[in-house]
Symmetry: C2
Subunit: 336 residues, 2 copies
């Protein structure tokens, strides 16, 4: 592998595919000199690509057949559609043809493809989704956000290690503070899962700061917050819902007090502050043995471009190598 970074993009994934992924690929290839492999049904993807000036850009189209829909059960869809775009794109990473894969299609499908094809990091059974959810703490990584609904304490420990490596390597946070999301700051507060997880973290050698509460998420007290995917997903969706509702309330309260353009700008500004998931775009699948970036189906071309930059950073910082080193080491410490 040379210094040239190659990223495979699932050109069929997302609400606006193939136009958004193709346009995003063109942006990324131009902005970062990345080599892009667009994976999708050849005719529509090439037709889309022909709308752009790709002179001097390294973009190729790799043919695949069909896509995994949001409505499909991922495990079944993988078997039924072995040539679907996300499987072919992920396979390029496994084969060493690409260094990373990006898909804004079915998140379950992307994660399942990553697990089956790339495998998981030693010590991690199932991957997680993580990222910031509150705008006031944009560099806080909360995981899991919905992939692991019923969790064991060791899974929470795994999330903490993965999040900690991510914070350190990607976000440049020195010795990231890790908190367990719970219902009181005292160590005695929590449910059976969080209490056992806390006891593991306290032996982990990580910078464990104990329990954090719902309001602490807003303040960003911890750099990494672990919770089961049930709690994380409910929180994520609640914050999204509040952000939308808040925009409506502001519109109503201020419509006769500000010029429409100012109000629109204010609402957008507060919305993007409070909906970091929307604004940021893609995030890595935590725990798989390779760089796989997923995101909202609503991803715009700019989101694809940002995701390529994120993929590049994951590769350049050797995120996966660091995770492979840290997870087994810390898990061994915590299980002593």
């Amino acid at each position: 592998m040379s210094d040239q970074i190659t990223v495979a993009i699932d050109a069929m994934g997302g609400d606006n595919a193939p136009s958004a992924p193709v346009e995003g690929a063109v942006l990324a290839a131009r902005n970062t000199q990345t080599r892009i492999l667009l994976v999708g049904d050849k005719d529509p993807v090439e037709a889309e690509l022909n709308k752009h000036d790709t002179e001097g850009l390294q973009i190729s189209v790799i043919g695949s057949e069909g896509k995994i829909e949001d409505s499909e059960a991922p495990a079944l869809a993988l078997r039924q559609k072995p040539r679907s775009s996300v499987l072919v794109a992920t396979g390029l990473v496994k084969a060493g043809t690409a260094d990373a894969v990006i898909s804004m299609g079915s998140t379950g499908g992307s994660m399942a493809a990553a697990v089956v094809i790339l495998g998981t990091i030693k010590g991690i059974e199932r991957p997680a989704i993580g990222g910031p959810i509150v705008g006031s703490a944009p560099n806080q990584t909360i995981l899991d956000l919905g992939s692991n609904i019923d969790c064991k304490p060791t899974q929470l420990l795994g999330f903490g290690i993965l999040g900690s490596v991510f914070s350190k390597v990607l976000l440049n946070i020195n010795d990231p503070k890790i908190g367990v999301l719970s219902v009181g700051s005292e160590q005695s507060k929590g449910n059976a899962l969080t209490k056992e997880a806390s006891s593991l973290f306290s032996k982990s050698g990580l910078n464990f700061i104990g329990n954090v509460e719902g309001n602490d998420l807003v303040k960003g007290i911890a750099d990494v917050v672990v919770c089961d995917g049930f709690v994380g997903n409910v929180l994520l969706k609640l914050v999204e819902g509040i952000g939308t509702e808040l925009g409506l309330q502001l519109q109503a309260a201020l419509s006769d007090k500000m010029p429409p353009e100012d109000l629109k700008k204010l609402v957008q500004e507060l919305h993007s502050k409070n909906n970091v998931v929307d604004s940021r775009g893609g995030g890595p699948v935590f725990g798989v043995n390779g760089v796989s970036i997923v995101g909202h189906g609503s991803a715009s071309p700019a989101t694809f471009d940002r995701s390529v930059s994120l993929a590049r950073m994951c590769i350049e910082t050797r995120l996966i190598e660091e995770m492979n080193e840290q997870v087994p080491r810390v898990m061994a410490l915590a299980s002593d």
Copy 2:
């Protein structure tokens, strides 16, 4: 018992005790002709009461000794302080001297006192705290909000029945819609707890609408939403935190665009819309066999006054009698 309603108020409970509870008692006695028994250390409570014009009001002081602090473990405190204000006040309900008790002191202490002295409704093991948490759905009752951290499916069923009775008799909602808080609208989505609870609800004869998600809370899709107290408490605190943060963001974004008084009013308006717990004040302890109202320690005199009105409504609508009838009946149906 005549038509005259008597309410015992823990005059030592809350951050501003005894002044706030005493002033609230005076307001309530004047506004609603309620007979108020102020329970607390006699000297300070009487001194406080003497600051007010109580001519024609039915307010008496009942002596007690000390109070249960927020920092104390409730069960232990009950044994060590048998003459503390909340225990004496709750005892007045058991004795039939008062029809309801109100305390803004340690919520754990108030709940423990209610359980020990008044007992629970048949079929309910431990009481719950419930109420709205999102301003856009002020009549949505979410429970549990933090008393029952690790829950069994039958407990969630119990919360649903209690919430349903409350919605119907107190909030005048005909055939309240009940939802289980989960991570997807499909029945297959959820954790082990919510899936089992859903199967109980579907046999309950209640108006069960299935899963609701985080963003559905904002829309108020269900009238009653059940979750374990871990999830409920994290949500409650997150929403409080977001409300506070939002105020700061608005201040910053609008300080040069609006007159300071208008901005202050806007922030307060949005704050009260989004912090219903603060604005509403007290709520009943769900599941105890008597009317016990608890609330934030920061309760103002107006909150005490509103809590007396709530207590009166609970009594006049025969809330507890209805709960005693419905809980065993619906639980029998659901366990068939």
